[in-house]
């Protein structure tokens, strides 16, 4: 059994420890909260004048660059029905504010209202005697939604009317769709044919290209030959020029000789004409006296041939060929070569 005084003492020690612990924790907790919320920090006041104090209350957070630097401390309704909102921020941040500093109030859904300070860019610092900053209110999500609703409602009405019209013209639309489907199929077919045509054209163009290349080669060869011929022709022309030059040199003498020759020929022709006119008078009588001489000579030769030994020295004439289209014996006789 534990001695009563010892137990009593132990209980007291434990209770005292708990008391000390509780006091320390309470001081620590309260002190930390108070310190962080600026209870022991020097603060500076500034204010703005708003058209309304809606959404603003003492304790509303004041932020600078997203960090909490203070809070709203007071709201006063002015005689002109505007609201003077006084804020207290940490002294060190007040020095950063310029004369054109701005306070913007905004509130997101389910979030607390916030006043965001913009330090401004003026060269003049914010006056400590009259620390007034400008103010504006950012539109809330509800206000934006209302604005959107106002803009979208007429559009939705129009869409509703359009959809009603479309519903009424459902049959026409079906027909249009069928036609469009057919047209689409036609277009697809046409596209396929075009594709085939293009493929063929490509093939033919490829062949034409080859032929063109060949023709070009041939043309180039022909041109080469033409060039060669032209060169030869040029040579020939040169030679012709030389020949013509020599002809030109010799032609006058040749013409003179030709003229003499012609004159001599004319004289010869005159002589021949005189001889022929003299012969024309003597030749007919001569020819008439020659015929009995010839007949006599034939009879003499015939008589010699038929007598011995001449008859044996002369070979018998070959049998005459009978003309195909004649039966005349005289013909056989006349055809026999002498």
């Amino acid at each position: 059994m534990v001695d009563a005084p010892l137990k009593r003492e132990s209980i007291r020690r434990q209770v005292l420890a708990l008391l000390v612990l509780g006091a320390v924790l309470a001081l620590l907790l309260g002190g930390a909260i108070a310190t962080r919320q600026g209870a022991f920090t020097r603060t500076a006041s500034l204010y703005f004048v708003a058209d309304t104090g809606a959404g603003i209350s003492p304790g509303t957070t004041v932020r600078l660059s997203g960090f909490r630097v203070g809070a709203v401390t007071d709201l006063v309704l002015q005689p002109d029905l505007k609201v003077k909102v006084t804020m207290e921020i940490e002294e060190q941040h007040f020095a950063a504010l310029r004369s054109d500093a701005h306070a913007e109030w905004f509130k997101e859904q389910l979030q607390a209202a916030i006043i965001e300070l913009s330090p401004g860019s003026s060269a003049q610092p914010l006056s400590r005697a009259r620390p007034q900053v400008s103010h504006s209110r950012r539109r809330t999500l509800t206000e934006v939604a209302n604005d959107l609703r106002g803009r979208l409602a007429p559009i939705l009405d129009d869409i509703k009317q359009l959809s009603g019209t479309v519903a009424e013209r459902k049959g026409d639309i079906a027909a249009v769709l069928v036609q469009a489907n057919t047209a689409a199929q036609d277009v697809a077919r046409s596209t396929q044919e075009l594709r085939l045509l293009l493929a063929t054209a490509n093939t033919q163009l490829a062949g034409l290209g080859g032929q063109a290349a060949t023709a070009m080669g041939q043309a180039q060869g022909a041109l080469t030959r033409v060039n060669q011929n032209l060169a030869q022709l040029q040579t020939l022309l040169g030679q012709a020029d030389q020949s013509l030059a020599s002809v030109n040199q010799r032609l006058p003498a040749l013409l003179a000789q030709t003229g003499d020759t012609l004159n001599q020929l004319n004289a010869a022709a005159r002589d021949v004409r005189g001889v022929s006119s003299a012969a024309s008078a003597a030749v007919p009588g001569l020819l008439r006296s020659a015929v009995p001489l010839v007949e006599d000579a034939r009879e003499v030769v015939g008589g010699v041939k038929s007598h011995w030994p001449v008859r044996g020295l002369i070979a018998a004439p070959p049998a005459a060929l009978l003309p195909l289209d004649s039966h005349d014996a005289a013909a056989l006789r006349d055809a026999t070569p002498p």
Binding site: R8, I11, R12, Q14, V15, A17, L18, L19, L21, G22, L25, A26, L28, L29, G30, A32, I33, A34, T35, R36, Q37, A39, T61, R68, L110, Q111, A112, I114
Partner: protein
């Protein structure tokens, strides 16, 4: 029903009034020993239970709420800190005191009443009675306040650590968010509520313990009545404080 409630309320108030009227009895060694014992039982012995509940409440309840409402939602954070710590902290601590101290006080006082035959004469004159009510009411108040501040500290610590772990932030940033969202007056106010709850629970338990007159069977009824009365008192006071904020 209303008459019974009225009678009970008067009885509870008489206990508190009696303790306040006899506050000079704290000079007595026996009374002071009773006070030490009551603080030890209500505060020191209950501390492990309160600490476990506080850690669980902070790590699970607050963290889940912050994950649901958003860790950057300042309004939600303020609501959690104010409601969770300012209201639920003292309330949960009071429940722990009801479970432990209320039943114990009622049973102890009831048995003392049976054995010592405490009667109206002694109630008026003897310091023996003062040993029963004053140290328990005062000890309940001190123990309740200490339990609340320990409960809140552990709740905040576990909530900050758990939030930093689950939300992927740092302990420093979570602590900063909490310190900005909390109000300095919440700590003394919640301690005052804890003290009020402790004193009330002790007074109610003493009242029902002193109602045991004839046999041991009445002790059980006294314990049950003390627990029910304490619970009603705590809820009633909490509702009253909540309503006073909007007045």
């Amino acid at each position: 029903m209303i008459a019974a409630s009225y009678r009970l309320a008067l009885g509870y108030i008489s206990m508190v009034a009696h303790a306040l009227a006899h506050r000079g009895m704290l000079a007595d060694t026996g009374v002071r020993d009773g006070l030490w014992r009551q603080i030890h039982f209500t505060g020191v012995r209950a501390l492990p239970y309160a600490a476990a509940v506080a850690v669980l409440f902070g790590a699970v309840g607050v963290t889940r709420l912050m994950a649901l409402l958003g860790d950057d939602n300042e309004e939600a954070l303020k609501a959690i800190v104010s409601g969770g710590l300012g209201e639920l902290g003292p309330l949960l601590t009071a429940f722990i005191m009801i479970v432990r101290s209320s039943a114990a006080i009622a049973a102890e006082v009831g048995l003392m009443n049976l054995r010592s035959d405490i009667n109206q004469t002694l109630w008026q004159a003897s310091m023996h009675e003062d040993e029963v009510v004053l140290p328990r009411v005062l000890g309940g108040a001190v123990g309740g306040a200490l339990l609340v501040v320990c409960f809140e500290f552990l709740t905040i610590a576990s909530a900050i650590v758990a939030s930093a772990f689950t939300l992927g932030t740092t302990v420093a940033s979570e602590l900063d968010d909490f310190l900005l969202a909390a109000d300095g007056w919440q700590v003394p106010l919640s301690m005052a509520k804890g003290a009020m709850f402790g004193a009330g629970i002790a007074a109610i338990s003493c009242y029902h313990g002193l109602q045991v007159r004839r046999d041991v069977g009445e002790v059980a009824k006294a314990v049950a009545a003390a627990c029910a009365g304490s619970l009603s008192f705590v809820i009633g006071v909490d509702v009253l404080v909540f309503a006073l904020r909007f007045v």
